[in-house]
């Protein structure tokens, strides 16, 4: 399973209000090629997309098709992942499915007299079908016209080359793919290419180019002819986020593509349509000695009444009051925010409620954020500041609060104020997309999922889910044994065929705070569709630290294909030591080293670009002591991860996110146990950086 709950087309249908950010490096474009990269038709340009733009492109030309995901990683650097079908590529194999990665970098920005210049590498890590390198320059003339010229190597140097570097381009044995073709870069024949784009109107752009690609492989396979080096296209903007291109290639082939452009900086829906918060209620003047008295503390029914009023009021805001302890001048609360993506917003709303409910003598509000029954951080503020700064910029109150480590003790069941029904369930449809073996394209699986949970204690939950596929599941015929490793992931088709309905997961999870800065989790049961057993995890994460370190150890056994209660013979001890680091510049990294499900040892590195609103776009690689031959196609595991906060798409506050992992190819090597409730993500969301990043909503 590779992409879950894909909501992108739906998002695009809503129509994005894409307001272009201030141009950082200039010479930006919204035009994407047939390969889903910023550029002309098939040729690249020195243009860049808007910083952090994420573009999904589906292209069809002749019998060939491809889907591409391109991300403008920094204003100058962008990367693409492509999944392509090349029809009748091979006389024996027939259609060929290829995965490839590209990167390009803006070297020089456009100035009054000089063009912008970029260098790029196409298909540098796959099987090399599209392998090429280029240097390209683009100059803007007036407001609407852009001219591009460049030199290409490899595939982009195949038509009418004008020279060569280092003789013939060296052969490259891509083996199982996935290795870097560094020895080929900028070697062999090179050929010129050029092009022009003209923006006719806001909606319409026309493009023409002289292509240096001779389409040798396609011509050899007989799927197209190369009659001319000239290509033509029109780009039509359907909405700010959707473009359609129609193009005519090599005087022979027509095609079209659909481009969906998203940007984490441009929410689909403006946030803030939730109801206005309760206004702060200032206290009566100090001179009113009776109101400011402290005798109320002597009567315990006061505390009970206040606790009930606060619990009710917070409940209406989607915040669960876990505990409330009162002193004459101090209120200590634990709250579980179930609604607001910004924890700061939940704290702000809690503080507003307290100004209505607390007797005037209570000056200090200490609000502890709790998730899974575990305190994450404590935010302490003065009521006087809340009264004084209600209408000031949120940064003013941020300067007046203290964010500290919360007392490391799980919430006890006996102290919970807003007692909830411990048993909860839901029935919902699901859609998962994935491909099951290397030669099959993307497949969708649509079904229903029955989920239920029982909270034994705030930090101890038993939860499970039963899934029934209705449409599109794989059957056993789709499975071809193809691994020299224990088949820990490649038997997905067998699970899909036999488990219907199947128990997706059924676990007991217990969360704890073993000490200062420490968090723990123990999970028992059927953690995921293919494995069950026992796992324990511990995380060290100070509330204000950029660094966190964790470790997980698990003993798991492979589940039966019917996904009921039985197990197969294979079992393994797996576990990792992990380090997490936030560079505080919008990038974060994670390293996991340890033993993977197939018993292989190695490490994973992932780098994410993160946004304050919760978007994450990242890439990961996993290299283990499995040889490329044993691993199979792709040589090692690598892929792209995207996490999209639903608040960004819906506008209404919600803590949910939709996550997708696009793997270049899922194999048995470097496979990690999938389990819910891993500590870092939810612990981090209640810590200093996440709080301050989203502090702007404190008063919202």
């Amino acid at each position: 399973m590779n992409i879950s709950r894909v909501v992108f087309p739906k998002l695009a249908a809503l129509g994005l209000a894409a307001t272009p950010a201030v141009a950082d490096v200039g010479t930006q474009t919204t035009s994407y090629t047939i390969y889903g990269t910023p550029g002309l038709i098939a040729m690249p340009t020195a243009e860049v997309a808007t910083d952090s733009e994420l573009a999904f492109t589906y292209s069809q030309f002749g019998p060939n098709a491809s889907g591409t995901l391109t991300f403008q990683i920094t204003p100058r650097l962008s990367g693409s992942f492509r999944y392509a079908k090349i029809a009748d590529f091979h006389p024996v194999v027939g259609d060929y499915f290829d995965r490839s990665f590209d990167v390009r970098y803006r070297v020089l920005n456009e100035s009054k007299y000089f063009p912008a210049m970029s260098v790029g590498v196409r298909d540098f890590i796959g099987t090399g079908i599209y392998s090429s390198e280029y240097i390209v320059a683009t100059k803007t003339i007036g407001d609407r016209l852009r001219l591009t010229g460049g030199l290409g190597w490899g595939r982009l140097g195949s038509y009418e080359p004008i020279g060569a570097i280092g003789g013939a381009r060296p052969d490259w044995d891509f083996g199982k793919g996935g290795t870097l073709n560094l020895s080929q870069w900028f070697k062999g024949d090179f050929a010129p290419f050029a092009g022009v784009s003209y923006q006719v109107s806001d909606k319409l752009t026309v493009k023409a180019e002289y292509s240096s690609d001779a389409y040798e492989q396609e011509v050899a396979a007989g799927v197209m002819e190369h009659k001319t080096p000239f290509n033509f296209a029109v780009d039509y903007r359907v909405s700010p986020s959707i473009h359609v291109n129609a193009f005519y290639l090599a005087g022979d082939t027509i095609g079209a593509n659909l481009v969906i452009r998203l940007n984490p900086r441009d929410p689909v829906a403006r946030s803030g349509t939730e109801g206005a918060p309760l206004p702060v209620k200032p206290r009566p003047p100090r001179s009113n000695a009776q109101a400011w008295g402290t005798e109320w503390i002597a009567d315990p029914t006061n505390e009970t009444g206040i606790r009930k009023a606060v619990a009710d009021a917070l409940g209406k805001e989607g915040i669960k009051l876990q505990s409330l302890a009162l002193g004459t001048t101090r209120a200590e609360l634990k709250v579980d925010n179930r609604k607001f993506h910004s924890q700061a917003q939940a704290i702000g709303r809690t503080a507003r409620v307290l100004t209505h409910a607390m007797p005037p003598s209570v000056e200090i509000f200490a609000i502890t954020l709790v998730d899974n029954g575990i305190p994450l951080s404590k935010v302490t503020m003065r009521r006087s500041d809340i009264e004084r700064l209600e209408h000031a910029p949120a940064s003013d109150i941020l300067n007046r609060v203290a964010i500290d480590e919360a007392k490391p003790r799980a919430v006890r069941r006996s102290e919970v104020v807003a007692v909830e029904e411990p048993f909860r369930w839901s029935l919902a449809p699901y859609l998962s997309l994935g491909y099951f073996d290397p030669d099959s394209p993307v497949r969708g699986d649509l079904g229903v999922k029955l989920s239920a949970s029982y909270h034994v204690a705030p930090n101890f939950v038993i939860s499970g889910a039963l899934s029934k596929s209705l449409l599109g599941r794989a059957d056993a015929d789709d499975y071809t044994p193809s691994s020299n490793l224990p088949p820990v992931r490649t038997q997905a088709a067998l699970y899909s065929a036999e488990a219907n309905p199947g128990i997706s997961n059924l676990t007991a999870s217990w969360y704890g705070r073993p000490g200062k800065n420490l968090y723990s989790r123990v999970t028992l049961g059927y953690m995921e569709s293919m494995f069950g057993g026992a796992a324990a995890e511990v995380l060290w994460k100070p509330v204000d630290s950029n660094l966190a370190v964790g470790a997980e150890l698990a003993w798991v056994k492979q589940r039966d294909f019917d996904q009921l209660f039985g197990f197969q013979d294979y079992d393994v001890v797996t576990g990792h030591v992990s380090a997490y680091y936030d560079f505080n510049n919008g990038f974060s990294a994670q390293v996991d080293a340890g033993r993977y499900l197939a018993g292989d040892y190695g490490a994973s590195l992932s780098v994410d670009r993160t946004f304050a609103n919760g978007w994450k776009v990242g890439a990961y690689v996993t290299k283990t002591n499995v040889s490329a031959e044993d691993f199979g196609e792709g040589s090692f595991d690598k892929g792209i991860k995207i996490s999209l906060p639903l608040e960004w798409a819906l506008g209404t506050p919600t803590r949910n996110a939709s996550s997708a992992v696009v793997r270049s190819l899922e194999r048995d090597g470097g496979a990690r146990l999938r389990t819910e409730g891993r500590l870092f993500d939810w612990v981090d969301s209640g810590h200093g950086d996440a709080l301050t990043d989203r502090w702007g909503k404190f008063w919202r």
Binding site: T19, N263, P264, R265, D266, P267, R270, S271, G272, T273, E274, G275, A276, P277, L278, P279, V280, K281, P282, Q290, A291, G293, E295, W296, D299, T301, N302, G305, I306, K308, A309, V310, D312, A313, K316, V353, H356, A357, M358, P359, E387, R388, E390, H391, A392, P393, A394, S395, F611, A612, N613, W615, G651, D693, R694, W695, G696, K697, W699, R700
Partner: protein, 243 residues
Amino acid sequence: MTEPAKAFVSVARTTLLGTATAAFLAACGADTSQGELSMKIFEVAKDASKDLKPKGDGSPDKKGGQGAANPNVIVAKALKATPGPVALVVRLDTKAVLAMNPVGRNAGYVTWGSATGQGLTFRNGVLANTRGLGEDLMSSRIDRAVSAITSRGNASYRREHVYLDGVGESQSLIVNCTLRRTKTEKVALGAINADAAIMKESCRGDEVVFDNRYWVDGRGRILKSSQWVSQEIGNLAIQNLRL
């Protein structure tokens, strides 16, 4: 429970009910009646918004001020719904109408609420922040604007507005404004009947230009106004029916 504490709890309850969008029925107390009031005014405003919607060809309603379309009827209904201050707020871009009344006071700020969950905070009638509109004006530093407008003199000054950008981070917008006193006009609507100076405020920033207008009476009260919120929301026309 001792009396003062009981009062706190009760106030907490009723105020919360008062500002919540739907449940106004239970409990008692001043704030709750405000909630019910908002609902009533909301109904009135719904009628009003029907009338305020532009016609298909953009030409004015030929029937003129007949029946429910008569603004005086709407105003009378709104005034009848409450004994306290009440205002009609129209978003000029969409003609959406909100009926609002005060729900909170803190130092010089008064927060007005609608039954549908929007909130506007004013300082002496000058818009200081908004909530529940979408691209809200989160906060502002407008001390000099407030004193110049309410003292009805010509002036120039800076305003600072704070908004949340697409990733949810605070962004400050600084604009330079000039305030000019123009003609005097009688404002007679609802319970209001007074002569007011029309104050025109023109503001300009890096990427934004907007105009506000205030009808200010001799006591420095803003009787009606058109005030800019943000690029997305545009201007709100704020018409007090009773101060």
